[in-house]
């Protein structure tokens, strides 16, 4: 008879050390390494050089200005959509919501490219329509305003989700009580709804700000040609002109980004203190207000906005990809699929990028699933007092901008690994580790929600039936969380396949990802190739979002990020 020392817990003995090791490797170690380099370079006096450098202050200023106005744009756009779609009897809510969420899942560099294709003197779309400004006039998006506008479009869905979650959690009887006491719709809005939804709006604004601060794709494509640098693009250029002080400098720069993010996240945490809207939110709550005559006007406005922020840029992107060369007018006789042929069959760089991105993303999605099923099980079932701490640590790498994590991993792996003496820097492995670290939280969240929904007695019954941990895992636990695990895999694949920020710093010849390939094609002037690649990426994003959308009803609440 086997007798073991345990506290009646269902987990095997190796589980806690395993979870601890995973979280230390993926979260604590890289960030600690970054902190050490930052502090030591500050102590060596390099800080002084950096802080007297006007370029740094300029970049910080530009980061703050673009992020602030980006946040304002996101609040206006996302706030209006959330209010109208949640509180009023607008038709076609599901479609509007889905389309409005798309920009946030499209990679930022693709957003930037599509908007460039929509405006400026060499826009294929405008030329085809005969609306292009004269040659030589400036591209209006290569500016602080342009960056801020695209930040707004990219991050408006974050505000939308946060505010919508808040609005859905409003006490409905409170609203009805106010109406019974004689308040008009407008008074209910002003006195009840707006004050109660303010935390959701503020939290959304804070997340949008953090996301703007860490955004690399948009300022890289729009800012660098106009010599506008934000902190992430400054880090990128520091690596391009590598010298002995680079590590110290970039660690201080990333620390700046880190601090700005932490301030933003602290604001979010503070306004949302004690309430998790995502859990309380009820889907499909009936409209509270009727718009009557104003309805068609509001619907027109919403659809026009979708056209401007999504349909037109994507059309421009498609137009650019069909043009034979950048700036050549597009009509039915000049349209060509040459660019697609080129990226899919001729260019070895784009084919390598496809292979790299897809294999990296698959490896990340499935590899992480194995880790997160075990970690999620521990976090939900162990009852350990360390569990909330570990859960918070697991969240950090995803909450911080990717560029900070990339810098931390470069610092960690720049030197050969101790003992085995192999250097990971410049190999695919460092990107894989970065993805594991970065998307750990993305993969964990659906799995943890699923675990929370499972009645513990289902597993206890299996224990009494005689099944050991591995047996229960395969027979009971995994089948029960399968839908959430599927969602986790698709989400991680979707996000990993499209990211640029992390791999922009970590790639080297032969390990470029799709994001890097698009950026490099654009950088080297092959705008039509970059557009064609972007079109394929957008198609992939839409396809996977639709798959998740169809799965949504079978998943725990909060798993599909654009549904609340």
């Amino acid at each position: 008879m086997m007798r073991v020392q345990n506290r009646g817990n269902s987990q095997p003995r190796w589980l806690f050390p395993f979870v601890l090791t995973v979280i230390c490797l993926l979260s604590v170690l890289p960030l600690a390494r970054l902190a050490v380099t930052g502090i030591s370079s500050a102590l060596q006096g390099r800080m002084g050089d950096l802080l007297t450098d006007a370029v740094v202050w300029h970049a910080l200023y530009d980061t703050l200005v673009t992020s602030f106005w980006g946040m304002v744009a996101a609040v206006i756009l996302g706030g209006a959509f959330a209010l109208l779609l949640t509180l009023f009897d607008i038709r076609g809510k599901a479609a509007l919501g889905f389309l409005f969420m798309l920009p946030t899942m499209i990679p930022p560099q693709v957003t930037a490219l599509s908007w460039i294709g929509m405006t400026g003197p060499s826009s294929t779309l405008l030329k085809a329509l005969g609306l292009a400004p004269p040659l030589g006039s400036p591209q209006p998006l290569y500016s602080i305003g342009g960056i801020a506008l695209l930040f707004g479009v990219q991050n408006a869905p974050l505000v939308f989700l946060s505010l919508r979650a808040g609005l859905l959690a409003l006490p409905r009887d409170g609203i009805e009580a106010a109406r019974l006491s004689g308040a008009s719709s407008w008074q209910v809005m002003k006195d009840i709804i707006l004050p109660l939804s303010l935390p959701g709006l503020a939290a959304g604004a804070a997340i949008a700000f953090v996301s703007c601060v860490g955004n690399f794709g948009i300022p890289a494509i729009l800012g660098i040609p106009a010599s506008i640098y934000t902190l992430p693009t400054l880090i990128y250029t520091k690596f391009a002109t590598f010298n002995s002080g680079t590590f110290g400098e970039v660690s201080v720069l990333s620390a700046m980004i880190g601090i700005l993010s932490i301030i933003g996240l602290a604001v979010e945490g503070r306004v949302l203190r004690g309430r998790d809207y995502r859990v309380i939110g009820l889907t499909g709550q009936a409209a509270v207000f009727r718009m009557n005559g104003w309805r068609w006007f509001a619907e027109l406005g919403l659809w026009l906005t979708i056209v401007v922020i999504l349909v037109m840029p994507v059309t421009a992107l498609v137009a650019s990809s069909l043009a034979p060369a950048y700036g050549v007018p597009l009509n039915l006789s000049t349209a060509t699929l040459h660019a697609y042929e080129e990226i899919l069959f001729r260019q070895s760089i784009t084919r390598t990028a496809f292979t790299n991105s897809i294999s990296l993303s698959l490896a990340t999605a499935f590899g992480l699933l194995v880790v997160t099923v075990l970690t999620g099980y521990f976090l939900v079932r162990s009852g350990s007092r360390l569990a909330p701490v570990l859960a918070a640590l697991a969240e950090i790498p995803y909450a911080l901008p990717g560029i900070v994590l990339a810098v931390a991993l470069i610092l960690l792996f720049a030197a050969p690994l101790p003992i085995i003496g192999i250097s990971l820097y410049g190999t695919t492995w460092i990107i894989l580790i970065a993805y594991f670290s970065s998307f750990f939280a993305v993969s964990l969240k659906p799995v943890v929600s699923a675990f929370r929904q499972i009645d513990p007695s289902l597993e206890e019954a299996a224990r009494l039936a005689g099944a050991d941990f591995c047996r229960r895992l395969t027979d009971i636990i995994v089948p029960l969380i399968a839908p959430a695990a599927g969602a986790s895999v698709i989400l991680v694949f979707l996000i990993a396949c499209n990211e640029l920020t992390v791999s922009a710093l970590l790639w080297s010849a032969g390990t470029q990802t799709l994001g890097v390939a698009i950026y490099n094609l654009d950088d080297s002037g092959s705008f039509n190739l970059a557009s064609a690649l972007s079109v394929l990426v957008v198609l992939m994003v839409v396809a996977m979002m639709l798959v998740l959308e169809t799965m949504a009803n079978r998943l725990p609440k909060g798993v599909v990020p654009w549904r609340s």
């Binding site: 073991v4 345990n6 206890e460 050991d468």
Partner: protein, 341 residues
């Protein structure tokens, strides 16, 4: 199979917190059917979970025959205890069919497919669910799910079967039917069964022994008949069956079963020391030359009237009456029997 022994069992969940179970010792005889009875939060479910192996005792030990199942330092994990349990939520696996649910313990034990099928069918027919073998648990009613859970217990011939308030989620009609199924199941399997409930009628009807718990302690363990006739202490007396507790002068000697003469004398004595006496309603008879009392409430129950009477000194009694009585009526009562707690 062998008897199950709980030896000075204690459980504290948080270091320095109050104990959920305190110094509990009892022995369940082989093939016995023990009901753990107590109000919610009294620690009865914790005892059950310790027997199952989901919780480890902080002190004391659990033995099955000669075998130590658990003590404060080590324990046999539930998967190696050869026990089975019916959970309050039934805990059927939603992704498996009824037959797969029932056959899972055999599958884990590596029983061959053909043999497994035969045993599953046998277990399902014992609970009259053969026709439902291919259904999913979601397609069954509450009572049917309960029976599937029971069949899953039956299939492995466990040493001990644990039942955690299995009837709590069923309606009244189904409860009676399931009580019958449990009795049948016990007779058929001969397994030692431990049944947790807060419903004393359920406990009395099913079990061969009832253990009454309160605030983590065992108050009394006895057969249902014994528990009803000779409860120990006020708490057990008020928990089991109906009755009223009178405070009377304490009687000399160790006689606990008191007759009318003794009770009348004690009632009128007004001594310095007092004792509590449990009086069952069927022992209170309205007749002349008894104690004067006033009817304070009368409830028609169909076969009789249930009365609450207030004695001259303000104490309360319960009685049954075949004839109607009105609130405020003056009666006189004879108490045929009382039990000193």
């Amino acid at each position: 199979m062998a008897k199950l022994i709980l030896n000075h069992l204690s459980k504290t969940f948080h270091l320095g917190g109050t104990a959920a179970v305190r110094d509990l010792s009892l022995t369940v005889r082989e093939g016995g059917f023990l009901a753990l009875l107590g109000p919610s939060g009294c620690g009865k479910t914790t005892v059950l979970r310790m027997i199952a192996g989901f919780e480890q005792p902080t002190d004391g030990s659990i033995l099955l025959g000669e075998r130590v199942l658990a003590d404060a330092s080590e324990m046999v994990p539930p998967e190696h205890r050869n026990m089975a349990m019916v959970f309050q939520s039934y805990a059927l696996w939603p992704h498996m069919s009824v037959a797969e649910n029932v056959g899972y313990p055999l599958k884990v034990r590596g029983v061959s497919s053909a043999k497994r099928q035969a045993k599953v069918l046998e277990a399902l027919s014992a609970v009259r669910l053969e026709a439902y073998a291919d259904r999913r648990p979601a397609d069954l009613s509450g009572g049917q799910r309960q029976r599937v859970a029971l069949a899953r217990c039956l299939v492995t011939e466990p040493d001990v079967v644990l039942l955690d308030e299995p009837l709590a989620n069923l309606d009244r009609h189904l409860r009676q039917e399931m009580e019958e199924t449990f009795r049948e199941f016990h007779a058929r399997s001969g397994a030692t069964m431990i049944y947790v409930t807060h419903d004393q009628a359920e406990a009395m009807a099913l079990a061969t022994d009832v253990a009454v718990m309160s605030e983590g302690r065992l108050l009394q363990m006895a057969t249902p008949e014994d528990l009803y006739a000779r409860p120990e202490g006020r708490l057990v007396g008020s928990l089991v069956g109906q009755g009223a507790i009178l405070t009377l002068a304490s009687s000399p000697g160790d006689q606990r079963q008191l007759d009318w003469a003794a009770l009348k004398a004690l009632y009128e004595e007004r001594g310095m020391t007092t004792a509590e006496v449990l009086v069952r309603p069927q022992d209170v008879v309205i007749s002349a030359d008894g104690l004067p009392a006033t009817v304070s409430s009368a409830l028609f129950e169909g076969e009789r009237y249930a009365l609450r009477l207030t004695l001259a000194d303000g104490q309360m009694l319960r009685a049954f009456s075949r004839t109607p009585a009105k609130v405020g009526d003056q009666v006189s009562v004879v108490i045929h029997s009382g039990w000193r707690l």
